[in-house]
Amino acid sequence: MNTEALKDLLYKIADDQLILGHRNSEWTGFGPLLEEDIAFSSMAQDKVGQSWQLYKILNELGESDPDTVAFMRNAEQFHNCHFVELPNGEYDFSLIRHFLFDTAEYLRFSMLADSSYEPLALLSKKIKGEIKYHKMHADIWIKQLGAATDDSISRLQESLDLAMPYALGIFEASRFDEELKADGIFEGESALMAQWKEQITKIIDQTELQLPDLDALTPQTGGRYGEHTEHLQPLLDEMSEVFKIDPTADW
């Protein structure tokens, strides 16, 4: 087993969970409805908790402890995709990101539940059951608002068009994809993307929304290799502000 390849995989999925979890938590107290406020806060707690479990596996593979890994790295050491670091924007954008990302996330952990690396397979089986609720929540709202009023449809459409190049960046190829596949650890980003396209099309087809021509878009990539937008570092500064006051404090 190639440990470097495994660590690269774990870092990118853990970082995705942590960063989107943090973005979701920014809705706490600001949701358009009380139920949505609670939904995004709960999903934040799930995703941050899942990242913690993934960082724990990395810790067992020799990396620093989860708190240090989460709070003490700079942007260029993070491997999340650009999509999760973008600001929340209006609710329509957050909802579209929730739908596009969480569908990919659900499929990714479903694939990883069959991974040959047992600690990851067991955790993924667990996470898959939790993310199912996130995906269900996203699907309900996209189906409802994607076929409701002119306003809701046009706002979602605009966000969908804006989000799509970033969503494609979720599947940025890793330099280890072939090895991970050969070792039976992960089937790879292109296999995941094919499943994702099928799933999102199935939901979008039940609405008035139009899926952009994915082949005509340039994916926003670089995140998996530590290149980020200007939005990540301020997020990390805010997230780690309290931790950095006293990194040795016992919580």
């Binding site: 609670i38 709960s42 999903m43 089986k125 059951g129 939790e130």
Partner: protein, 165 residues
């Protein structure tokens, strides 16, 4: 001299009845179904295996240290409490006693399922106050990771359900 063998696995399990879920204080860890194994080695070493309900459940560490406290209180010095995903928790593992405790507490117990959790299953909730099935799910999320929120059209009360997982 050898008092190490004086406790049986069943006895240790019974002690754990006093450890409750910190977020649902009427539910013991045994009834929640998170204690997945108790083994005593020949040298007296006690191992308790636990499985998390949710990956990010903040109550798990509290439950783990509560178990450790009970073992120490009972004079067990050589022990380990291991949290792992090897045996995966699902809501069917809540015992009948636990389901009754949840209902008495005002939380609808999770519907039993065949490990296929879909939207129809989540929407189905029986009101813990009046037992009506004329209820509506308001959101699959709630005040804790393990709860969803519902409304009863019969007694006009909002209530929470322990989510099926």
């Amino acid at each position: 001299m050898n008092t190490l063998q004086s406790h049986s696995e069943a006895e240790i399990k019974a002690w754990l009845d006093e450890v409750k879920d910190p977020e649902i204080p009427v539910l013991s860890l045994n009834d929640l179904g998170v204690i997945t194994g108790i083994t005593i080695q020949d040298n007296g070493h006690v191992r308790v295996d636990m499985t998390p309900t949710f990956a990010g459940c903040p109550a798990m560490d509290v439950m783990k240290s509560d178990v450790e406290e009970v073992l120490e209180k009972r004079g067990i010095a050589d022990y380990e409490v291991v949290l792992s995903f090897k045996t995966q928790w699902n809501s069917n593992m809540i015992t009948e006693k636990g389901r009754k405790a949840l209902k008495d507490f005002g939380l609808a117990p999770p519907p039993k399922h065949d490990l296929i959790v879909d939207i129809e299953l989540i929407e189905r909730a029986t009101c813990p106050q009046c037992n009506s099935e004329n209820t509506e799910m308001k959101t699959p999320f709630g005040p804790a990771l393990c709860r969803s929120m519902h409304y009863c059209h019969n007694c006009h009360q909002a209530f929470e359900q322990f989510k099926p997982l």
